[in-house]
């Protein structure tokens, strides 16, 4: 864990909105010089606070009208290799995220599809046929909101 202050928080909030801003523009927002801002961003990247960048695409405009979250239970725990399941599920292009979870399900998947019949095809042909896949629960995403997270200041 690394120490970050209120200025780092402000920079992270700004970069979450738009990662393509120049150090100069960011510096003006937080009241720092361009070199000082650049050094802080570099530190946030080198320490792994900023893990990367993501291109935000309009999935619907690109023809992906349906997003479904799947809870997947493994059928025969102990006999299935988790690594095999994870490798196979991660290789499916329509599967956007894979999380290993504890609780009602073993894995949580985010799946995109062109429409519901396309989703059914992905589910039947690719997901239900995975090694070890058992019970599946599907919830169709209606809306989604990402929040900035606890970046209000150095302390709460």
């Amino acid at each position: 864990m690394i120490e970050v202050d209120a200025i780092d928080h402000a920079l992270l909030r700004a970069l979450q909105r738009d990662a393509n801003q120049s150090a100069g523009a960011l510096g003006r927002q937080v009241g720092l010089s361009q070199p000082a801002t650049w050094r802080r961003i570099k530190r946030l990247q080198e320490t792994g606070v900023i893990t990367g960048r993501r291109l935000r695409l309009d999935a619907e405009a690109l023809g992906f009208a349906v997003t479904v979250f799947l809870g997947v239970k493994l059928a025969t725990k102990g006999r299935v290799s988790l690594e095999d399941f994870e490798r196979a599920v991660s290789a499916i292009p329509e599967v956007q995220t894979v999380e290993h979870v504890l609780g009602l399900y073993d894995y949580r998947l985010r799946v995109v599809a062109r429409d519901l019949s396309d989703f059914e095809r992905v589910l039947r042909r690719r997901i239900m046929t995975l090694p070890g896949a058992g019970d599946v629960e599907a919830n169709v995403l209606l809306s989604e909101e990402r929040r900035p997270g606890p970046l209000g200041g150095p302390t709460e």
Partner: protein, 151 residues
């Protein structure tokens, strides 16, 4: 609408948003000037909504992430709206999603450790309005998280 060049650009750009314009143009087999024109158009058309930095909350000391699946009491008026308004005020909530299915709403909640999580859960989550039922999934590991579209 989109042609093969646009799709090639989106595929490569999505796969590696850190690439310099020169490298990205090279991978797509177009000139830097053409790439810039296409990127500008994709953004103007709203297909590319932006590039955002992703944060590793664990590095910032938030080691716990829990997915809370909430069923709302729909007999109450404005159940969804009131719940959302209140959930947005909890800083540790990093995602709010609504669903068609068994689950109405899902919240992603982060916390420093289990004691902190318990504090948030009791004082900030269970106090949210109109909750009928709540179920927790604790995240053990993120196996894939790039959220790429299969273009």
């Amino acid at each position: 609408m989109l042609d093969d060049v646009d799709r090639r650009i989106l595929r490569q750009w999505q796969a590696d948003p850190w690439l310099s314009p020169a490298d990205l143009a090279d991978r797509c087999g177009v000139t830097v000037a053409k790439l810039a024109r296409r990127q500008a158009r994709l953004q103007d058309d709203g297909i590319v909504k932006g590039v955002q930095a992703t944060i590793d909350w664990a590095v910032l000391g938030y080691a716990v992430e829990v997915s809370l699946r909430v069923t709302l009491d729909k007999t109450v008026g404005r159940a969804h709206e009131n719940f959302f308004e209140a959930a947005r005020d909890v800083p540790e909530v990093i995602e709010i999603q609504t669903f068609l299915g068994r689950v109405d709403v899902r919240l992603s909640v982060i916390a420093r450790d289990m004691a902190h999580y318990q504090h948030i859960y009791r004082n900030k989550i269970l106090t949210l309005p109109n909750i009928a039922d709540i179920e927790a999934l604790m995240q053990v590991a993120r196996i894939k998280s790039n959220e790429s579209l299969p273009l």
